[in-house]
Amino acid sequence: MSDPQPVPDGVLLCTSCGLCCTGALHDTAALDEDEEQAALAAGLPVVRGAERLDFALPCPRLEGTRCGIYPDRPRVCARYKCNLLLEVESGALPLATALGRVRTAGTLLANVATSLPAGAALPEIRAHLLPRTGEPRRDHPALRLHLTALTAFLDRHFRKPSEGRLLDIRAIASPSSGTPT
């Protein structure tokens, strides 16, 4: 009998996280044209736009931090790697540090969830409270703070530079002088 194979760090990370399925990182996920029927059959909220086919996030088939249709999941889900996962896979970031960031994100997400109106999904509340254009909103300050903290953290650690940032945040520039003692 052979020894069990070690679980790859990337698998440990993804099965502890699931954030890419929650709508915290993206509003939608792209489907290939030939996946529409399967996606509908799986109960995914398919959205047909003028130029692309997507399903809306959060994914209703997410069970805790794991996929409920893993063997039949859309190709985009199989392909997608967030920045955190890429850093772990490249050896640039220790798994323990990455798992710590997942826990922090989980706490920030829970803070948002406690203030979220019933039935509201993260993408829609983000579009409403953190608009990318026009005047900033001034309502729901507590929820907006929690959402800002979550989104800033995800922008920094989870979203890839090529994906851009979800949040327009003003930096108060740190002085360049001074290093920690």
Partner: protein, 89 residues
């Protein structure tokens, strides 16, 4: 001696070592890292430039002249964004 304090319209959250702030009256979000986040944390109580630098010089390798110039600029930025205000004397 000018004392500075956080404005009541500023909400904030610690995120790891950083700080995310929301100026509720203006609606803008701010990210603070490093020395900036440290200054923000020190402003939990009203403080003047001298007090802030005394504390920062125990945490960062910086001489007083540089520290005072940098922190004064930082306080000016924060005040302009209405994150902090001068305590009426």
């Amino acid at each position: 001696m000018t004392l500075y304090r956080r404005t009541s319209a500023t909400l904030f959250a610690d995120v790891d070592q950083d700080v995310v702030a929301l100026q509720a009256d203006r609606g803008y979000c701010y990210g603070m890292e490093g020395v900036t986040a440290e200054v923000w944390k020190l402003l939990e109580q009203p403080a003047d430039l001298n007090t802030l630098c005394n504390r920062l010089m125990t945490q960062f390798e910086v001489d007083r002249v540089t520290c005072e110039a940098d922190v004064a600029e930082l306080l000016q930025q924060m005040e302009a964004e209405q994150l902090i205000e001068r305590v009426p004397g």
